[in-house]
């Protein structure tokens, strides 16, 4: 089996995870910029993080023959400080030509505050000015429905945004239709705690179809499973999806979305 991990925070993972992912058939990994688990104290912290994402991490993955791509932004969890966000966003253009940068992400909302929304709009503007793909994080738990509605409005309000060039991540049963109806792609995040299980993700496929959807582990420094996508592929097999349909979903779909930028090279 081959698959693409479209959302993994690999800087937080150990090298053994790369070994296991490649062994399980991972053909490419894509890493959105994330919150470090603590607030960075200055734009310099982000500069170093962007260097790590664009220079060091691709080399670490390459040791196992794994292509590594990334997305850049200041994460919504650090977006309450608009001034800091402005300074960080000003750093991003100098990294956009790096070979592995797919676009701007994961931007979005966390607690649905006015400042988070302002920073989201700044990121959408940055992506539009530089013709970048967008990867959006939606809030968790009780904030998700409202956050998804606000994010979809913000995307719609910027007429430069092409809906099919935006993936809205962490969709669940109550938000997936909103996202797909707006013309975007939807990401289903498979978490052992608090989010979508493999069984629920496949339920969503059964009811919504497989077009414009992908699955990811969003593995990070918290409780998460880097092999969540191949485990979910096993669940697809149990439900009667053919090997061809599984390949189309776990490899073909992420490849189709990311091929909208020439930076993404189709894995061998």
């Amino acid at each position: 089996m081959r698959y693409i991990e479209p959302h993994g925070h690999m800087v937080s993972r150990v090298t053994d995870d790369y070994v296991n992912m490649v062994t399980a058939g991972c053909a490419a990994v894509c890493e959105p910029a994330f919150w470090a688990g603590f607030d960075r104290s200055s734009p310099d912290g982000f500069f170093d993080y962007f260097k790590q994402l664009t220079e060091y991490e691709p080399k670490r993955a390459a040791k196992f023959g794994l292509p590594h791509y990334c997305w850049l932004c200041i994460n919504p969890k650090e977006s309450e400080d608009v001034r800091l966000a402005e300074e960080v966003i000003a750093l991003i253009p100098q990294f956009l030509n790096a070979p592995g940068v797919l676009g701007i992400g994961e931007i979005g909302l966390n607690k649905n505050s006015r400042n988070e929304l302002k920073v989201l709009e700044m990121h959408i503007d940055l992506a539009a000015r530089h013709d970048q793909l967008i990867l959006v994080h939606t809030p968790h738990l009780e904030d998700k429905w409202k956050g998804t509605k606000l994010i979809l409005d913000a995307l719609k309000n910027d007429r430069r945004v092409k809906p099919e060039r935006v993936i809205v991540d962490h969709v669940e049963e109550h938000t997936v239709k909103l996202v797909l109806d707006a013309g975007h792609w939807g990401g289903m995040t498979l978490y052992p705690e608090s989010k979508c299980t493999a069984a629920r993700a496949i339920d969503i496929l059964d009811t919504m179809g497989t077009d414009r959807l992908w699955m990811n582990s969003a593995c990070d420094w918290g409780v998460s499973v880097p092999l969540a996508v191949p485990y979910a592929a096993l669940e697809m097999r149990k439900r009667g999806y053919t090997p061809g349909q599984i390949d189309q979903f776990v490899f073909g779909n992420p490849a189709r979305f990311m091929s909208q930028t020439a930076k993404f090279k189709m894995p061998e």
């Binding site: 919150w35 969890k77 309450e80 966390n110 607690k111 649905n112 505050s113 006015r114 400042n115 988070e116 929304l117 809030p139 968790h140 738990l141 009780e142 904030d143 998700k144 429905w145 409202k146 509605k149 606000l150 669940e172 049963e173 109550h174 629920r200 339920d203």
Partner: protein, 78 residues
């Protein structure tokens, strides 16, 4: 088997809360409300449980109250 195990887990959790003391919690009220969906005959239960636990408003907050989430909406007064 899996659904059976999860159902018993929820039942045991409710019993555990009965045995506990202390002040009430908005999450408890929200959970009790969402539980009613399990007995519903109508499809779409997962979506309705999620919506029952969601903030239904659309006005952005004046400021983010920290970073974490509670699992249920505390209501307009909170």
């Amino acid at each position: 088997m899996e659904a059976r195990a999860k159902l018993i887990d929820v039942a045991a959790f409710l019993d555990r809360v009965d045995r506990a003391s202390g002040p009430g919690d908005f999450r408890w009220t929200a959970l009790r409300g969402a539980l009613a969906e399990l007995a519903s005959e109508k499809s779409g239960r997962a979506e309705r449980v999620l919506l029952a636990l969601s903030d239904p408003t659309l006005e952005p907050l004046a400021a983010a109250p920290g970073k974490g989430a509670a699992g249920a909406w505390p209501g307009k007064s909170a």
